[in-house]
């Protein structure tokens, strides 16, 4: 009789891979810093998109940013829970991140805080997780 396959664990599928990590302070985003020209990039990269240097180091991104623009998506690929709101978030280290927004009513320039969340599901029903930014309510 053939061996039964091991049960697949219920862990969500992560869209962010190694770029999303958990440390003592909680969730963090790991990007890169170019050791030659100093720019920060996210997602992490082994090569600098500005000066082509391959001398890149891992760099933790700031957890707080400000909303530059956002749009609530009603129509899109099947895997996303809809509607979902996407934003460009500007971090204080000059990096712009595209991310799902969660929480209160977003507004331009509002401060947001890094988190992680479920944003969709695969056709097999596995949850899809990625980094999100939470709109802080005041």
């Amino acid at each position: 009789m053939a061996e039964r396959p091991t049960e697949v664990p219920d862990a969500p599928l992560s869209l962010a891979g190694a770029a999303l990590q958990r440390n003592a302070e909680g969730i963090c985003l790991i990007g890169s810093i170019c050791l030659r020209c100093g720019i920060n990039v996210f997602p992490p990269s082994p090569v600098c998109p500005r000066c082509q240097s391959e001398d890149m180091a891992a760099a933790e991104m700031p957890r707080r940013g400000r909303i530059y623009a956002f749009s609530t998506v009603h129509a899109g690929p099947k895997q996303w829970i809809k509607p979902y709101t996407l934003a460009y978030v500007d971090l204080p280290n000059d990096v712009r991140v595209l991310a799902h927004l969660r929480g209160g009513e977003p507004s331009l320039g509002a401060e947001v805080m890094l988190g992680a969340g479920i944003v969709g599901a695969t056709p097999d029903g596995q949850a899809i997780e990625t980094y999100v930014f939470d709109v802080e309510s005041h």
């Binding site: 720019i39 530059y68 623009a69 749009s71 998506v73 129509a75 899109g76 996407l86 712009r96 331009l108």
Partner: protein, 379 residues
């Protein structure tokens, strides 16, 4: 570089044709352009086929149907700028003396994806996070409305104008005019856009025959001169970008005007990339048709109407004509050539002398758009 002239243009009406193969969509446009040019088919020495999602050897599949093969055929992919980029390659081939007569094809079949938003490159980081084109443009619109006070109605007016123009264009996918109320009441796609502010997905093809100016006059007494043929790529920027300035179009416009020795005031008619309502407003400014921040007023004043200062998207644009992405660039040229010849019945601009086409392709992280190709023509 030698001067290049457009001899013939042709297109098939844009629409949804899921039962037709890409090749079967494409070849009638080619036959129409050849007939319009008045050349023998075998006079074509080189062909460039623009398609973004048409698959391998698209040009060969189209030309194989009509037996125009054996010549060098190059397939060009630059997202929505695919066939405009193909045209630029053809212009360079003729300009440099590598060929005397060239064919450009633009062809796309998006109905194979069913409905929904345009499928983007899954390996792109932002696409993987959930980015779709309506959201990119939605964010541009949001910033523009915030910084310059444009209203939802201003955006809707772009769709109203272009749907009105498209109603007079037998090649347009959408033939019924719409009102501001209907535009704003259509279902939300990505804020602030409603369905009627987004270009429809569909299928179509267009083709252009062009030749060196000395050769062109053997076939037609009235070829249209190509005064500028420009291609720029977006600059990858990992940080802050002002989304209200379409920087790639600003650069391309500057280069095209310089090539042609012309300025915004010289343009009588323009087909620009109105994939979403906000886009056309941004492009009035990028091309210098009006000052920064004044696009909504320019539209409301009727300055971009067919009888306005510069007729923008008399074909109905992407919003009404449709946007089978690889075919769009070539179809814009079809419209401008017809306008310059006085053949655009029902939507004819009064005596235009100079026309412009603009197609810009996007959908990957870190770029305004990936590519932008602008052409200027005159008679």
């Amino acid at each position: 570089m030698r001067e290049v002239e457009i001899l013939g243009v042709g297109m098939v009406p844009f629409g949804r044709f899921p039962e037709k193969s890409l090749a079967d969509l494409g070849y009638p446009a080619v036959l129409a352009a050849i007939k319009d040019a008045g050349i023998a088919p075998r006079a074509i020495e080189i062909a460039y086929c623009g398609t973004a999602l048409g698959g391998m050897l698209a040009g060969q599949r189209v030309l194989g149907r009509i037996g125009l093969t054996g010549i060098p055929i190059v397939n060009v992919e630059n997202a929505c700028s695919s066939s405009s980029s193909a045209l630029r390659q053809a212009v360079m081939a003729i300009g440099s003396g590598a060929a005397d007569v060239a064919l450009v094809i633009g062809v796309e079949k998006l109905s194979k994806y069913g409905g929904g938003t345009l499928p983007l490159e899954e390996e792109d980081w932002e696409v993987r996070q959930g980015l779709v084109m309506p959201a990119v443009y939605g964010m541009r619109a949001q910033r523009y409305m915030h910084e310059f006070g444009a209203t939802a109605e201003d955006l809707a007016l772009v769709a109203v104008k272009n749907r009105r123009n498209g109603a007079a264009n037998p090649d347009a996918q959408m033939r019924k005019p719409v009102t501001v109320e209907e535009v704003l009441a259509s279902r939300p796609v990505a804020t602030p856009f409603t369905l009627l502010q987004c270009c429809p997905m569909g299928d179509g093809a267009a083709a252009i025959v062009l030749a060196a100016s000395g050769v062109a006059r053997q076939f037609r007494a009235d070829p249209i001169r190509a005064r500028a043929s420009d291609l720029v790529s977006g600059k990858f920027e990992p940080g802050f970008r002002d989304m209200t300035i379409p920087e790639i179009t600003v650069r391309g416009a500057h280069e095209a005007y310089e090539q042609a020795g012309l300025g915004p005031e010289d343009i009588d008619v323009a087909e620009v990339h109105d994939a979403f309502s906000i886009a056309e407003l941004l492009y009035y400014e990028a091309f210098g048709f009006c000052r920064r921040g004044e696009a909504a007023a320019f539209l409301r004043d009727g300055s971009s109407d067919i009888d306005g200062k510069v007729a923008v998207n008399p074909s109905g644009g992407l919003l009404a004509k449709g946007h089978p992405i690889g075919a769009t660039g070539a179809a814009q040229v079809v419209e401008i050539v017809r306008q310059l010849r006085g053949e655009a019945r029902g939507r004819q601009v009064a005596n235009p002398k100079v026309g412009l086409t603009h197609a810009t392709g996007g959908g990957i992280a870190g770029f305004d758009h990936g590519a932008c190709s602008i052409h200027i023509f005159s008679r």
